[in-house]
């Protein structure tokens, strides 16, 4: 019996999971989007329990309710009960039961099949890696860091500046790095969150085997999702190595890459959006802020919901592709860019390729392009030149 099956009845459905610490808004992305209690964490846990008891049969709708959870962990932060740290694990375990029974919604099925067949959720072959990633140095033994790009940075054009500027910052920092090139495969974080444990394990083993073969000691990830699974799961698979998110490297080498702001971001206010897998999942709140605060010439302003209370962009748990939360003015990414614009910031800084894609799109939909630019941390720094 999986642990969630013996524990899930303990949710009282009190609703604290819907809020941030100050109750100023709804902070569960799926609940904010759909507003039926079924889409809150409490509703979801009660439905899972009902499904286990046979009181609610499986349906596409039930499964979609489960997969609209972005695993952002706002509920974990806010739930007053002792079992709070386990809540998202319970949802993932319930998804894994659905996966084992072959009862998953169509979009999730497509995502997982694509990862299984192509090694990424975008149905791209290694040959289709974006040109600017192909030109990057390959990792070889003795290189200081393996730069793990992740699927979005390898195949989504919207991340171009992020990749290019990150590489530039690493060069300026004077660190040596290399990529796996065509040998890089999906990190497995989203696959795990979607409940496909076996596939996630296979992906991890494949990547670890490559790390071993090349003697990798330290990995820099562009994506907080990759950072998360490498830090919290790969480490327990018999090949310990250092994992850093690129924001940590930017912060560590701020002096080397420091510059006075003279470029297009000069004088602008910057607000930073905490990615869930860097923030709530791994408690890295200050490091990314330090990475940009080290550069004089722009002002860092906070959105009302920040750090442990940050509002998820809606892209977690594969939703940057499956996009179950899209299609409304209440879609989380759209709410988030409106919140960012209200701070008066001209730049919304992010540290995750998923957030970058989701929020860039939302800025267009909300017609905020004249007021707000979405950039990753490395790009903010680069454009300050």
């Amino acid at each position: 019996m999986k642990r969630y099956q013996s524990q899930i009845h303990r949710c009282f459905r009190c609703g604290y999971c819907k809020f941030p610490t100050d109750y100023s808004a709804y902070n569960c992305p799926a609940y904010s989007r759909f507003r039926f209690d079924t889409y809150s964490t409490g509703g979801r846990l009660w439905l899972i329990y009902a499904w286990l008891k046979g009181e609610v049969p499986w349906s596409e709708h039930l499964a979609e309710i489960l997969y609209t959870c972005t695993t952002c962990k706002n509920c974990v932060e806010q739930c007053p009960m002792k079992f709070a740290p386990e809540i998202v694990d319970w949802i993932i375990e319930a998804r894994s039961d659905m996966v084992e029974q072959g009862k998953i919604p169509a979009r999730v099925k497509r995502f997982l099949e694509s990862v299984y067949n192509y090694g990424n959720p975008l149905k791209k072959t290694a040959a289709e890696r974006l040109p600017w990633t192909k030109g990057l140095k390959k990792y070889k033994e003795g290189t200081q860091y393996l730069l793990f790009l992740g699927c979005l940075a390898s195949y989504e054009e919207a991340t171009r500046e992020m990749v290019e500027n990150c590489v530039k910052a690493l060069d300026e920092a004077g660190v040596s790095y290399g990529t796996l090139g065509d040998d890089e495969t999906c990190c497995g974080n989203e696959v795990y969150a979607m409940g496909e444990m076996e596939l996630s394990k296979q992906l991890a083993e494949k990547n670890i085997s490559k790390f071993k073969e090349l003697g990798v000691k330290s990995v820099i990830t562009l994506c907080p999702h990759g950072y998360n699974i490498m830090k919290n799961q790969y480490q327990n698979m018999g090949y310990p190595f250092e994992v850093l998110h690129y924001s940590q490297v930017l912060a560590k080498h701020a002096d080397e890459i420091a510059r006075k702001v003279e470029g297009e971001v000069k004088g602008k206010k910057v607000t930073y959006h905490d990615p869930c897998y860097l923030g709530r999942h791994n408690k890295l709140y200050e490091t990314p802020r330090k990475a940009i605060a080290a550069h004089n010439g722009f002002e860092l302003v906070e959105m009302p919901r920040n750090r442990r209370d940050a509002f998820c962009c809606g892209g977690g748990s594969g939703n940057f592709i499956n996009d179950y939360l899209a299609g409304s003015k209440d879609s989380p990414a759209r709410i988030r860019v409106r919140e960012a614009a209200e701070t008066g910031a001209g730049i919304l800084a992010v540290a995750c390729p998923g957030c970058l894609i989701m929020l860039k799109e939302a800025v267009k939909t909300e017609n905020l392009e004249d007021r707000l630019q979405v950039m990753d941390l490395a790009t903010v720094i680069a454009k300050s030149k």
Binding site: H9, R10, F12, C14, G15, Y16, F36, P80
Partner: protein, 460 residues
């Protein structure tokens, strides 16, 4: 045959109408012990016009409507006993106006206590409302509808007493203003100097209309707050201690707790009371005054103050208190319910004895919180028992204990607060027949088709 679903989606955005089993399941039950019964549709209106259109449809088709806020009464008051349309009001959540000089907030029917608290703290930190200890998703309207209590109840009465105006969609679909807003642009009184019609909507469990707007009174929010704890092992002294403290007119809130674990709690009654001030000097004066007020009990060795370190004070001072919710999982079962009579405070000792007796009889974990109301005119005494959702036997035993507690309370001067259907039946049985007849006439007059939350307050 008319397709109600399609009719509803012609009124409300289809994203906010559901007849799917998952929504019907969740909206057909609450965290308490009353049996589930599912609606046929769940709808989330955004405007008063949408509410009106839904009510007219329900009248035409003779189908039930149940308006719902946070759904946290625990006594099944929004379980749709006759199916029909469940109206989740939480999309109507605008804070329309804070009238600073008039000291009231005008809000929509689905505004949560959490949202109002947060709004005031951010924009009007010198003002506050009476926030209950239910979780922040509880709506201000639904809490007032059940005569809820909050952190200002000791000073100001029930939360329904702090209402100063309503906008209601009547069961026949008309929109009606209640209070001064019926004749003025201001919402400063729910009744006086006019006939007070507001009581047609409080305590009726949503059977007389749907409140779409409400004005609630705001009170000064002092800069400093502190909590004091007096402990006694003699339950019979508790009412006098409560009264003495209340009559100082210096305390904000007073709650007496009783629970068996941790072991040091067993057999003791914890009298928690709160004081406020705009300066440390004011606070210190109140501390000393309260200390002197209870000195006689200390001298007789009947009780004493407990020193609270900051770590202990923080959760007690938080509003709402998450500790109230945590009680649901003390036995790792995810459930608790309480029977909550409003009663004379002189009944404290006999109630607490019954609470403990029933816990032994039904082998349950218990807790009680007794809040003083309006300076001591009454108290809300909770007979609270936990249960395990995965164990039907504990659920059955908890329900039996609660039923017995309700019978006992009603036989001993209490009147049930937010009564479940079983408690409503007992209340009706004991009620003055002319009062019952008046209630029945009013209900029929307002709701000729009996569509509003049917099953509640019905003469069986």
């Amino acid at each position: 045959m008319i397709d109600i679903y399609n009719e509803l989606t012609s009124i409300v955005d289809k994203d906010f109408v559901s007849n799917k089993p998952e929504e019907l399941y969740i909206y057909g039950r609450d965290p308490g012990l009353m049996p589930a019964h599912e609606p046929e549709y769940v709808v989330m209106p955004s405007t008063v016009e949408e509410v009106q259109a839904i009510v007219r449809l329900a009248n035409r088709e003779k189908i039930a409507i149940v308006p719902k806020g946070g759904g946290l009464s625990l006594t099944g008051l929004v379980i749709p006993q006759k199916g029909g349309i469940l109206l989740d009001m939480k999309k109507m959540d605008r804070i329309i106006e804070i009238n600073e000089k008039g000291s009231y907030a005008l809000i929509e029917g689905g505004t949560t206590h959490g949202a109002l608290k947060s709004h005031l703290l951010k924009n009007y930190p010198h003002l506050r409302h009476s926030i209950p200890d239910s979780p922040p998703i509880a709506t201000v309207v639904a809490n007032a509808v059940i005569h809820g209590q909050g952190r200002l109840t000791q000073q100001r009465g029930f939360n329904s007493d702090m209402v100063c105006g309503l906008e209601v969609v009547l069961p026949t679909g008309e929109v009606c203003k209640i209070g001064t807003s019926a004749v003025s642009d201001y919402w400063f009184s729910k009744g006086a100097p006019l006939p007070d019609l507001s009581s047609l909507f409080f305590g009726w469990c949503g059977t007389t209309g749907i409140i779409t707007k409400m004005a609630v009174k705001l009170y000064p929010c002092k800069k400093l707050r502190d909590v004091m704890l007096f402990l006694t092992d003699r339950a019979e002294l508790v009412p006098d201690i409560m009264l003495k403290l209340g009559r100082t007119e210096m305390i904000e809130d007073l709650v007496v707790t009783a629970q068996p674990i941790p072991l040091r709690y067993a057999g003791n009654y914890y009298i928690l009371f709160y004081i406020t001030g705009d300066s440390e000097e004011e606070l210190e004066y109140k501390r000393k005054y309260c200390w002197h007020t209870l000195w006689e009990y200390f001298e007789k060795r009947d009780g004493g103050f407990v020193s609270l370190v900051p770590e202990m004070k923080a959760p007690l001072l938080s509003m709402p208190s998450k500790d109230t919710t945590r009680f649901a999982d003390v036995s790792k079962g995810g459930g608790f319910e309480y029977s909550g009579p409003i009663a004379p405070i002189e009944k404290y000792a006999v109630y607490v004895k019954k609470l403990e007796e029933l816990a032994v009889k039904y082998n349950l974990y218990y807790s009680s919180a007794a809040r003083m109301i309006d300076g001591g005119h009454s108290m809300m005494f909770s007979f609270s028992y936990t249960f395990n959702r995965a164990d039907a036997q504990t659920m059955k035993r908890a329900k039996q204990a609660l039923d017995e507690a309700a019978e006992y309370a009603l036989d001993n001067g209490g009147v049930m607060w937010k009564p479940n259907l079983d408690e409503q039946k007992i209340t009706i049985r004991k009620m003055d027949p002319n009062t019952l007849e008046l209630m029945t006439r009013i209900k029929k007059l307002l709701d000729p088709n009996g569509i509003m939350n049917p099953g509640n307050w019905e003469v069986l």
